[in-house]
């Protein structure tokens, strides 16, 4: 086993401390490569992740670099992939598995909910499963049915799972590195719409840990709360609102479980108004949970009921209709307008 500590990050192959422009897809690829370089126990497997490098190329070059015992294709069976990861983690490995698309992770649901999530609790901490389940999720890419689901509520509803959704390349790298090093299983939701979004990233600069939300934009009139795919839309809405004279604060949750009540409440208490934005259907959703938490905890600071802007309660729309389904800048601005602004 080679365990390299952070002081020796400059060893060959590990990302160095030079800011570079990376897409989120590249940032996740770098995170996987760096983690595999540092720790032999880290494995990557799933469907088409070997020679092809994954349908989104997230595992590009990993088999070539680490060999087909470290990054490999499995038979086409998601329950098998996750179930095998459970056993491998029981025998000392740190598996990272790829579910090819959100809706293609459903065959693995029993393994995720009944075993990945519960093993530590079942064994009173004797068996912990350091598994990362990578799931490209969400719409906005013109994908056909079964390729655009926002499935976070299923996982967030399951005690024992840690659920994260990055919105920037820096966060994608930092959260993935932390997820792989994490002692508990992590469902890592990758907003596929943002795979090709770029920014200048210093990969060695730490990002806030799992469980922490961040304020992406300061504002004083209302707080927009979002994660993953909905973050850029919220930021765009805040930009547009500013030109209309309204100052909107944007909080990026990053981590759905654990949930950062502290940051959210402080933000909402500072503005007195909140709009929660998520792509998933709104009924019984993560957005509903956030909204309920704000109402319970910040009621006396609220000048208006909390509003939600979510996908409709319909199966994900076909490509030619998805723009009507997804939360848009205008729909967010309308929701902000609908908040109570006068006594």
């Amino acid at each position: 086993m080679t365990m390299v500590d952070s002081a020796t990050h400059s060893v060959s192959g590990i990302s160095a401390s030079v800011p570079e422009t990376l897409s989120m897809a590249q940032a996740i690829n770098r995170a996987l490569g760096d983690a595999m370089q540092e720790d032999e126990r880290v494995l990557m497997f799933g469907e088409d992740v070997g020679a092809l490098g994954g349908v989104f190329r997230i595992t590009d070059g990993l088999t070539e670099r680490f060999g087909d015992k470290r990054c490999f294709d499995t038979p086409l069976a998601e329950s098998g992939i996750v179930g095998m990861a459970v056993g491998m983690a029981m025998n000392g490995m740190r598996p990272v598995v790829e579910m090819q698309f959100d809706a293609f992770a459903y065959p693995a649901f029993e393994q995720v909910v009944s075993h990945v999530a519960k093993m530590a609790n079942r064994t009173q901490g004797a068996v912990r499963l350091p598994i990362v389940i990578r799931i490209p999720y969400g719409g906005g890419i013109g994908g056909v049915e079964h390729h655009c689901d926002s499935s976070e509520a299923y996982y967030a509803h399951t005690p024992g799972l840690t659920v994260v959704a990055p919105a920037t390349p820096s966060d994608a790298y930092g959260l993935m590195r932390e997820a792989i090093a994490f002692p508990d299983p992590v469902v890592f939701l990758e907003p596929k719409k943002l795979y090709w979004s770029k920014e200048s990233v210093d990969l060695t600069a730490p990002v806030p840990p799992i469980g922490r939300a961040v304020v992406r934009r300061a504002g004083t009139d209302a707080t927009l709360i979002c994660y993953g795919t909905s973050v850029p839309v919220a930021l765009e809405a805040a930009e547009a609102a500013e030109s209309e004279g309204r100052s909107l604060q944007v909080v990026d949750m990053r981590s759905i479980t654990p949930f950062d009540d502290e940051t959210v409440c402080a933000a909402v208490e500072s503005t007195g108004r909140a709009v929660v934005i998520a792509e998933a259907s709104g009924f019984a959703s993560v957005a509903s949970e956030i909204s309920a938490r704000i109402s319970e905890r910040c009621f006396h600071s609220l000048a208006s009921p909390v509003k939600r802007v979510t996908g409709f309660d319909i199966p994900f729309a076909p490509p030619k209709l998805e723009r009507y389904h997804l939360p848009s800048v205008n729909r967010i601005l309308d929701a902000v307008d609908d908040l109570q602004w006068e006594d």
Partner: protein, 370 residues
Amino acid sequence: MRPDVAIGELSERAMLPSEHPVCLIDENGRPQPDRRYALPSAEQLVAGYRGMVIGRRINDQCSALVRQGRLAVYPSSHGQEACQLASVLALGDEDWLFPTYRDTIAVMARGVDLLETMVLLRGTWHSGYDPTKYRVAPQATPLATQLLHAVGVAHAATLQGQKTVVLALCGDGATSEGDFHEALNFAAVFNAPVVFLVQNNQYAISVPLHRQTKAPSLAHKAIGYGMPGVRVDGNDFAALQAVVTEAISSARAGQGPTLVEAHTYRIEAHTNADDAARYRDQSEVTEWIPKDPLIRMKTYLTDAGLLDSDLQKLIEHEANEQAAVLRHGLNKDVELDPAVLFEHVYSVPTPQLREQAALLADELEREDAQ
């Protein structure tokens, strides 16, 4: 990843099970010559008999403890003790066992503390032993899901150069589950050192085998995955021990997985909560009674001069002692601290769980104050 044994390298004939289940000691206790498998040693047979007598005693003790309200439920393996013992006694220390809820006797035979084993069925927690200490996975209550975990442990063993073999148990009903298929397919493709032992006790709760499958036998499924399938008399400890030992050696030698189907019978109802009279004739059960694994072994050992009344008494005494340990342990009420409900969900409890733990603690404090 290229497996060490390519598909097609094993001939079709070698993957198909024999016409009749392998049997080395028949139901009359007479040894049966077999071209392929030798009778285990006298020492192994006596150890197996001893284990089965203890197992039977514990099975019956646990069923009684359910009636007395000391266990929440007990899925008995009465009649399946040969499968329970032969499989476990074939394992080495470095090997792993993946049991189901009906495999309590196998778990105890692996050396797990009796009371730690009963935690699940007693209802004080979901599992009571440290799996890594005994190399025994928690008893699985969902069907077939544990078979994939077994493949994972085995494949990780291969990658790390360990000589570990994994024995994965399931029943006939579990062979209808998707995870059974995925586990056998993965095991074959990765050439994983796993032995799958299906205890075909003819019933999945109330549904008989012919409603689960149209296959000529469950062992015939093996060829579809490219691994050998073996049928064995599941009430014949000797045959089971010989077959499972060979399958384990083959897996350890890098020759991949084997599917073993043991033909046995669930003498008792599914659990105490079940009423078997609603779906099967008592005459069917009566037919299986003479095929009991303990009776034939006792006859064989007595005829071979390996068991006399002194040894029989000694073994029965030991069985009674273990039943007493169980009885006394389970008759004691355990103090449970509800705070443990929050402790192991995550390595570090989330802020939300800490709040909920505090809420419950406060409730309890006020209850105590009343």
